[in-house]
Symmetry: C2
Subunit: 149 residues, 2 copies
DNA sequence: CTCAGTGCAAAGGATTTGCATGCCG
DNA sequence: CGGCATGCAAATCCTTTGCACTGAG
């Protein structure tokens, strides 16, 4: 993939300003956390993150994930395994869905045809408005066994 | 809804034979658990279940939910709140999706147009086969705020 | 400087498990 | 009867929190 480094600094810039707007600091620890997630390119659990960068402290990572989720920078994914997964939020990663392995708990990103995507979105919007429900985003996951399991 | 009682005994019958086939007993406790879920008609957490029928013991409910999930009778839903939700599995309840309230954690069942449903399924099947992923089922949830929140 | 952020260790809380007893088949 | 199922209480383990210290702005 060309321009990887540029892409990463773009992400840092974007996140930095977004945090600043909410009176949060973009500290070294947060920057490292974001780098780990960006470089993995797929949802990670806390152990994944701490293993990838052992300088990060558990409690700080959890706290920062929380801050970043609340700032709309990171997305929390509950897949049903032991640990919650986290990935960069859609404004940074683009809208997508997941393949969830029910054996190993792994998660992989996938993209739908935009045609199908629009239809789904339209359907959901209709249904929501009928229930007085205010939609924020949808999640569409395929559960099964990955190639390795 | 006409024939509610019949519907419930149908469910018990179906579950009973399914459990028998897997060398599990359909005990009083399990029957009560299933009744609670069937009568609620929407996904419930463990506290919901125990509140609905205080004779049920926490640990037994958890153990039985586990058995029933493994037997394909109950489905586990991880919505991201404190508790996991459970509902009767799709063979009993029909294929459907969820409206998930990110304020109160409540979950409501919804149904999609069968046309949209087929398109989604087709898309996912295509994507999965390209990754060597074996699909089992998909989940499609709309996250937002319910009418009460 | 000041206060948000950090790291350690300890607490919290949903879920699981050990063990003696009860009940289904 | 024999073994799966139950219920209580204790253990487990992911996640959160208290507190004193550090570093960003």
């Amino acid at each position: 993939m060309p321009g990887d480094t540029d892409h990463l600094s773009e992400i840092h810039l974007e996140i930095g300003s977004r945090l600043a707007r909410q009176d949060h600091r973009y500290t070294t620890g947060r920057r490292h956390l974001v780098s780990v997630l960006a470089q993995a390119g797929q949802p990670m659990t806390l152990p994944d993150i701490v293993t990838a960068d052992p300088d990060l402290a558990q409690s700080s990572v959890y706290r920062n994930l929380d801050v970043l989720v609340r700032s709309g920078v990171i997305r929390r994914i509950s897949a049903g395994g032991d640990h919650t997964h986290f990935e960069l939020a859609e404004p940074l990663l683009g809208h997508h869905h997941h393949l969830i392995c029910i054996s190993c708990g792994g998660i992989e990103d996938i993209h739908l045809d935009s045609e199908v995507e629009m239809l789904v979105d339209q359907s959901l919007t209709d249904i929501a408005s009928r229930s007085g429900f205010t939609p924020i985003h949808h999640s569409l996951d395929l559960h099964g066994h990955c190639a390795d399991c």
